[in-house]
Subunit: 354 residues, 2 copies
Amino acid sequence: MAVKHFAKEGLESLVAQLAAGMGVPGEDAALFAEVLVDADLHGVSTHGVSRLNIYLKRIDAGLIDPKAALTVDRQTGSIVALDAGNGLGQIQARKALDMLMPLARANGVAAATIRNSQHFGALSWYCNHAASRKMVLLAMTNCEPAMSPEGGYEAFFGTNPIAASFPTGKGFPVKIDLATSTVARGNIIAAQKKGAAIPEGWALDREGKPTTDAAEALLGTVLTMAGHKGYALALMVELFSGVLSGSAIGSGVGSMYKNLDRKQDVGHFFCLFDIGAFLDYGDYLRRMDSTIDRIKSQKKRPGVEEILVPGERSARRAGTNAAEGIPLPDETVAELKQWCSRLNVAFDTLEALG
Amino acid sequence: MAVKHFAKEGLESLVAQLAAGMGVPGEDAALFAEVLVDADLHGVSTHGVSRLNIYLKRIDAGLIDPKAALTVDRQTGSIVALDAGNGLGQIQARKALDMLMPLARANGVAAATIRNSQHFGALSWYCNHAASRKMVLLAMTNCEPAMSPEGGYEAFFGTNPIAASFPTGKGFPVKIDLATSTVARGNIIAAQKKGAAIPEGWALDREGKPTTDAAEALLGTVLTMAGHKGYALALMVELFSGVLSGSAIGSGVGSMYKNLDRKQDVGHFFCLFDIGAFLDYGDYLRRMDSTIDRIKSQKKRPGVEEILVPGERSARRAGTNAAEGIPLPDETVAELKQWCSRLNVAFDTLEALG
């Protein structure tokens, strides 16, 4: 598919104007746009501007409240249990993280659950933000059903991701960010579009049998990574972000694309650690950087050119995209133009770089 | 291998007497014995009494300090950075957990790093203990090198496990407890003893090439589970429990069996959450139990008799072993007898149940 490249600032401005056009208050619209475009900047285009269309559609259908306040259900010491008020996940998660910062600074650690939320984009923005404040963030979220528990074959868990990031002195944070599924559902959709088979171990069909047929897989369930271990981790994510938060749980979570008649009610979990509470920050950086050096200087397996640390590739991509522009496929550009037209926002202020 | 069964209480008493015989103070010896025997009780015999021999040998060689105090390097709010003083991991980890309990009760969350420790047995004891106090424990530890980062082939990470447990109203806690390796090294050793091949995807040989030869695999490295995802999680465990704690990192961690000339310097990480800080405990239990019910009543894959929740199988095993006695292989019984003989402890007070 053809792509065009756009400058980060212009794209953020356009996304913010469109969100504001659908009723998101100005400051919140800017927060939202920054997180959305940041995903594209880091190469996670599945969680970036390509999702704007469905977010705006859901606001339009009354399924997301663009003006929702973030309210505190309960606060005890360093714990805040939050209600996102069915607002945009990116905005509410950012505000939650802002609430945790002073608590973590005071007590060394703080945690939040957030219920009644939506898909909140790529976990990486929150992680990188924490790392830039000399903190470690552990983040999880439940999401719309895609995977079954080991032994079952009904979609129950989302691809329930877990993420954590750690600042370094290397110019990029170490960023662990992984779905607990074998593979993203997007890869199966891509195989189906190409008429290609999928590898064994990716998915089950509607009757719970292993399949390599992409179309059958899309009617069935995606497998958890590493079998029962991925099941256990997906459950851990569900318990922290769903059961503890008061959000919907498992198959009760609404689908962003399929359920155009009800809210998602996603739950998130954040735990923020102040590194300086554990050890001197300078010592920490020396220990971290030496760990990275030791990993990267390992003997390489046959055919491997470079050993990468998690987060390194996406940081490089962000550098490239900052310099050359953020690539958007024509389909996403066409969606942006439609919303611009509807909301009387000038698209032509967004100049394609190539 | 032939096994004999022993009552839990008798085994705990014997293990405590042997530890005390090697200089562990009486109360600490009882703590240690309880954790060690609990692993066998729950069917994790690789982390139970079969390890007593090497612990005592290492005390004898001056590589573990049986009388070590647990000291506080730093405390900030809900964070304690601890020095295990090269004491037995089980004892120091229990004491660390006891320190966290009131902090978590007061602030909703508390975390500890523990450096200068040893192998501390099965994570499940700590997790179950927290669950019995209406708390959720997230636990990690680094351990002796076995796995390489994705793309490399030198042993760097241990099989770096991650665990969490959650109380339920079902008579057992949900217990997530997994190594981030494809398989435990013990499975490869077992294959070698039988002269059997190992499946593809378990290990690399000394040159970083995939192998199905168990002997070659033991000279090489175990693969991380789910490739780069397991690498990312193993790194996360190393950063929380190694880098943040001040312990040895990666290949710097000593091997319990191979390095009989230096200490292990293992690092642990605990984060304890008070469930009542997030939501009413009654609500929590209802949400948790209904989640378990929904998972267990899923349609089952062909050939599957029952869908289990993590922790369920080990709880059943504990019930069986409590009733029928804890099985110990003759090899372990012989080791116990040798230590009894050396330390003038009466073995014959330990009655075999069958």
